[in-house]
């Protein structure tokens, strides 16, 4: 066979592999780590799953900020457990990502060098206790809307991780709402604290659902691979429709003068989102981008000698074991 013929056969084979692959996705079959997959599928999944994992890990910081100052023992325990859940989510998402042939160290490198992104919401500061309520209620609320469809996504390890993540996230969301409820049933000062938190977190939460459909670069491909089931704008509308009645229950005012129920569409109309602010934060110039990265990189660097020691000790133990085996 000539070189050209060989090339042709190769191309045909990969085309047919790709056809089979696409058909499997259409049939709702799960793609598993050892299955053939197009390189672009692999890369897109590494990007999205690691971005998700990074968000969990960086997301520990704004809430971790209140562990030492939580107002009651019950709240302290709940907050610790919540932040620990986030670390757990990070752990299984990194593991899911590793099944695609990338190591956790490489992924950390991408985060620490600023190459990889994480959810921009975590670049906002947590300045009062009410922020713990608002994050649970709004940020986890928006996250769930983003994530529930992923329980059925095409890549098996990701889909399975998301089932557990979503269960815990919905618990966190209720917990956040309950913090807000306690504040809103409390003193005037507590109500003001709750309203102030809603004012600060509302718009960034809407931005969490991603840029509008007309500028979202990954949507079409992601919809095809079931990494996405609804567009950003649809998800955002769903979040608003779901959250506004909850704000009403709390007796809080959503900080959008244009927010209005639209009988015709059966949805809330809402005001213009400040996309300039969104892109500013995405590009690294939000209120806490630098602090968050300094914290992550700092923790990693301060931990180097600890991780090195653990490796060295494990090697010594291994040698000891081998020597003992030899002696027998």
């Amino acid at each position: 066979m000539s070189e050209a013929q060989l090339k042709n056969t190769g191309a045909e084979r990969s085309r047919s592999l790709e056809e089979i692959f696409e058909q499997r996705i259409v049939n709702d079959e799960k793609i598993e780590p050892k299955d053939w997959m197009p390189e672009k599928y692999r890369k897109t999944h590494i990007r999205q799953i690691s971005q998700h994992a990074h968000s969990e890990i960086v997301g520990m910081l704004p809430e971790g900020n209140w562990i030492t100052r939580a107002p009651s023992l019950r709240r302290k325990v709940a907050l610790l457990a919540k932040v620990q859940d986030e670390a757990g989510h990070g752990l299984y998402l990194y593991s899911a990502c590793e099944t695609l042939g990338v190591s956790r160290d490489e992924l950390y490198d991408q985060l620490h060098s600023g190459k990889a992104k994480y959810s921009s919401i975590f670049n906002y500061p947590t300045i009062t206790w009410a922020d713990m309520g608002a994050i649970g209620w709004l940020v986890d609320g928006a996250a769930i809307i983003n994530q529930v469809p992923l329980c059925n996504t095409s890549y098996g390890p990701y889909a399975r991780a998301m089932i557990r993540v979503c269960k815990e996230e919905s618990f966190h969301q209720r917990q956040g709402f309950e913090i807000m409820m306690s504040l809103c049933n409390g003193t005037e000062v507590q109500k003001q604290m709750a309203q102030d938190a809603l004012n600060r977190w509302w718009w960034p939460s809407l931005m969490m659902l991603g840029p509008t459909d007309d500028v979202s670069v990954h949507t079409a491909q992601s919809m095809k691979w079931k990494l996405k089931r609804k567009t950003n704008d649809e998800l955002r509308q769903q979040f608003i429709d779901q959250t506004v009645p909850q704000a009403d229950i709390l007796g809080l005012t959503v900080p959008d003068p244009d927010l209005k129920w639209n009988e015709e569409t059966g949805h809330y109309d809402f005001g213009e989102i400040d996309w300039e602010e969104f892109w500013q934060v995405v590009k690294g110039h939000g209120p806490c981008n630098k602090e968050r990265m300094n914290d992550r990189v700092g923790a990693w660097e301060r931990g180097t000698w600890v991780r090195d020691a653990a490796m060295a000790h494990a090697e010594k133990q291994q040698i000891k074991k081998e020597n003992q085996a030899k002696a027998v």
Binding site: R69, S72, A87, Q190, H313
Partner: protein, 250 residues
């Protein structure tokens, strides 16, 4: 009010509260995701134990006392934790050393306290033993890894042990309350677990290629409310909400 019992419960619980608070500071800042999760776990266990003790103490105190008023609304001189547990997280070696030096004591104490004539203390001890057995294993394993890891980790681990050793002896100081309750079969005379403690610690340090410090100079004061300078800052953080926004529900 049973003053002796109340004070004795604080002596037990404040160690858990303050050790838990110190570990909680690290959440999200540990050397790896796995150690972060484990340290948070231990912190959660300690706060859980604290709540059981304080709920019991609040019952004894009566009136408006709650687990939170006891945890957050005392003055510094009223906290009875040992100096060891309030020492700061200077680096991971200090955290691990502080935890291990406390955990070994804690487990020995609980193993005796489970037979207390006081049913509530006995129940708390029985439940806590399972948790604290894990704590000792975790911190002890890390002492071994760091002690017998690299040259750098060995030095850091040894420095942490040398720094914290002076606080170990206070663990075995018997307060008046503990003495009175021990005579009634409710409390534990901690001097009885001292030998076992130093034996356990020495064995593990040997395995970890670490030296047992020879210094015979020890610090004490925590049990009578005379703390190190670190304690005020820890309390300022911990009590911030309750002090800034008094008499509110959260």
């Amino acid at each position: 009010m049973k003053t002796n019992l109340y004070n004795y419960i604080l002596e037990l619980a404040d160690n858990c509260l303050i050790a838990g608070q110190r570990l909680g500071e690290l959440c999200g800042h540990g050397p790896s995701l796995e150690t972060d999760i484990a340290c948070t776990n231990i912190s959660l266990d300690l706060f859980g134990q604290t709540r059981s003790y304080f709920q019991y103490a609040a019952d004894i105190k009566g009136g408006d006392a709650t687990e939170d008023s006891i945890a957050f609304l005392r003055y510094e001189r009223e906290y009875k934790n040992v100096l060891l547990v309030e020492q700061p997280n200077r680096d991971f070696a200090y955290t691990v050393a502080r935890q291990y030096l406390f955990d070994v004591f804690h487990l020995l104490l609980l193993e005796k306290l489970q037979f207390s004539q006081d049913m509530t203390l006995s129940a708390i001890a029985k439940k806590s033993i399972k948790e604290v057995s894990y704590h000792v294993r975790f911190s002890g394993d890390w002492i071994k890894r760091l002690g017998d890891g690299t040259e750098e980790s060995h030095e850091k681990m040894q420095a942490a042990i040398d720094g914290l050793w002076q606080y170990t002896n206070e663990l075995f100081e018997v307060t008046e309350e503990a003495k009175a309750l021990a005579e009634e079969g409710m409390g534990i005379d901690v001097s009885t677990i001292k030998d076992a403690y130093y034996q356990n610690v020495t064995l593990l340090f040997e395995e970890a290629t670490l030296n047992v410090p020879e210094s015979k100079y020890f610090q004490k004061g925590g049990k009578s409310g005379i703390h190190t300078e670190h304690m005020g800052y820890l309390l300022a953080d911990m009590q911030y909400m309750q002090r800034a926004y008094p008499n509110m529900n959260w």
